[in-house]
Amino acid sequence: MQNAKDTFYVTLQSRLAALNPARTIVVRGVVRPGTLVEENELPSAWVPMDAFRLQWTGLQANSAGPLPLLAMECSIQYATDGTSGNGGMDRGRLLAAMDAELVSVLGAEPHTIPKMNYSAAGGGIAPTAMGTNVFWADPVFSAAKAVGERLERTSTVLVFAYQEAGEL
């Protein structure tokens, strides 16, 4: 399950970074592509703007097949205050740009990618490919919400993966 979550996040991040390299955030002093998984970061009251924040919410398991099929709900939250130099009047356009980026990367083919194991990766060691794939449905967008000068929206994607033997 964790491998599928990691694979989906890395795929989404790399596709978003390729589509719009200018969308970045600063996390602990380092500039990164503008995506993060909230449960993997230090708890903080700070909410990054103009970036995609992933939360893993729902989970369903179907054991009818030879391997359990997991359906994981990924909630992608994003918000913008607009550009301060423009008095925030462009916040609708900035939210629309983020909508379009998400539609583009999640709708792009293929909707599937080999599941990778990142647990031993890092420090020059590449992740190892596993035996099954991760695949996902089209995103569902909630209505945009205005909180003061802030515009925010949540997109939900169902991510599917088979739970392989011995996998956590």
Binding site: D6, V10, V30, L36, V37, L42, P43, A45
Partner: protein
């Protein structure tokens, strides 16, 4: 006269004296190590950053008792010397005090780690003389 006050940081020094006179103490600002840009395992929650505790003082709690509301974590307001904040911003090479406090993991006070909810500053002649941190107790201690 105003130029003299502005240029010499007299307001910040006067605030330091007041903070010390009111029983100023030292707390620790817990800072995570900078992220590793090319290491995806940090973004996946596999590799954990190391932490560094930096003394922050003189500081004073604005009220002796925390602000407590049912169903919410207790909150404290901490007044922090602008002199020490400015020196930390310089020595740790952060762009500003707001970036420093946004990057901090929390404030360690009496062996309790409090999360920084907000950081604001009071200024005189465009120079900060005191910082106000709103600190939140861990959710495990929620009433």
């Amino acid at each position: 006269m105003s130029d003299l006050v502005s240029a010499t940081g007299a307001a910040a020094r006067a605030t330091d004296v007041l903070l010390r006179a009111m029983g100023g103490r030292t707390v620790m600002l817990r800072m995570p190590a900078p992220a590793v840009p090319t290491d995806v395992t940090e973004q996946l929650g596999i590799a954990m950053p190391t932490f560094q505790d930096i003394p922050l003082g003189p500081v004073v709690y604005r009220k002796a008792r925390a602000t407590v509301a049912e169903g919410k974590a207790a909150k404290w307001e901490l007044l922090v010397s602008a002199t020490v904040v400015e020196s930390l911003v310089g020595s740790l090479t952060y762009a500003s005090a707001s970036v420093l406090f946004a990057a901090a993991y929390g404030v360690l006070s009496d062996d309790e780690l409090l999360e920084i909810e907000s950081a604001t500053q009071d200024q005189v002649f465009g120079q900060p003389y005191v910082y106000r941190l709103v600190l939140r107790a861990p959710l495990s201690q929620m009433t």
